[in-house]
Structures are given as structure tokens and as C-alpha cells.
Symmetry: C2
Subunit: 86 residues, 2 copies
């Protein structure tokens, strides 16, 4: 692994670690009022594109970060559809 990839992995760890408590809190509180369904769907599709980009670029950092985020975003989307009123 080269030095650039280490910087990418630091980036991936920080942004992914910052996102996960949000997922946990939403799961615990069932409060999805702060999530806009259209915006979050757009975000989710964007993450899927980032994942494809990472695979095509053979970038371990991008693949790891977005694989984890795609799963946790999917959970948030599921919570939103299950618990959301608006």
C-alpha cells in the first residue's frame, strides 16, 4: 500500500466513523424527522456511484468508505420509510 492510500484510509475512517453514530442514534430514537427522503435517496444513489467509481479506480479507501456508508445509508433509508410520517 502506498502513502497516498494511507491518507485515503485516514479520510475513510474519519468520515465513516463520524457517520455511524448518526445511524445508531436514529435506530435508537426512531426519530427520522431530520431526514428528507428525496435528499437522502439522492445521497444514497450518490454513494452507490462513489462505490462503483472506487471499484473502477481500484481505490481501497473509496471502496471501504462507501461500502460501509452504503449499508448504513440503506439502514437510515429503511428507518425513514418505516418510521417517517413526513
Amino acid at each position: 500500500m502506498d502513502d497516498i492510500e494511507i491518507i485515503g484510509l485516514i479520510a475513510a475512517t474519519l468520515t465513516t466513523a463520524a457517520f455511524l453514530p448518526q445511524v445508531y442514534q436514529t435506530w435508537k430514537t426512531k426519530d427520522v424527522s431530520g431526514l428528507s427522503l428525496p435528499m437522502f435517496t439522492m445521497f444514497f444513489v450518490g454513494i452507490v456511484f462513489w462505490l462503483i467509481y472506487g471499484v473502477l479506480k481500484e481505490s481501497l479507501s473509496i471502496i471501504l468508505a462507501n461500502a460501509i456508508t452504503v449499508i448504513s445509508s440503506f439502514l437510515l433509508l429503511y428507518f425513514k420509510i418505516k418510521y417517517g410520517k413526513n
Copy 2:
């Protein structure tokens, strides 16, 4: 620009576009209660690392996405520090 970069730019557009209304809404409502300062600081530092990664990898998509996000995250951090009580 190659085909892979087009996929990256679609990804960048979607995830960045999904994030901006959050910034706008926070600016309008001054409601920063949903933002955790430590988590958001971690996210911000992560985005800075992604930006460095994008520059080193010479990836236009990663640079564009994270340059915009670093500015808007900085605004959110500023709102949090200015308006946040907890």
C-alpha cells in the same frame, strides 16, 4: 476526461447536492441541536483528508466534491459553535 471520471462526477454531484440543503436549512433555522460537535469535527477533518487524497490522486471528482463539502462543513461547524448550546 475518461468514462470513470464521469461516474465520479455523477457521484460527486449527487452526494454534494444532497448535503447542501442541510447547510441551507441550518443557516435558516439556526437549529444546530442535531449536530454533535466532536462527530462533526471528525467529519470535517476527514473531508480535509479526502481533499488531500483527491489532489494526490489527481482525481477531479474527489477534489470537486470535497472542496465544496469542506466549505459547507466549515459553515456548519461555525453555526454549531455560534448557535450551539450543547
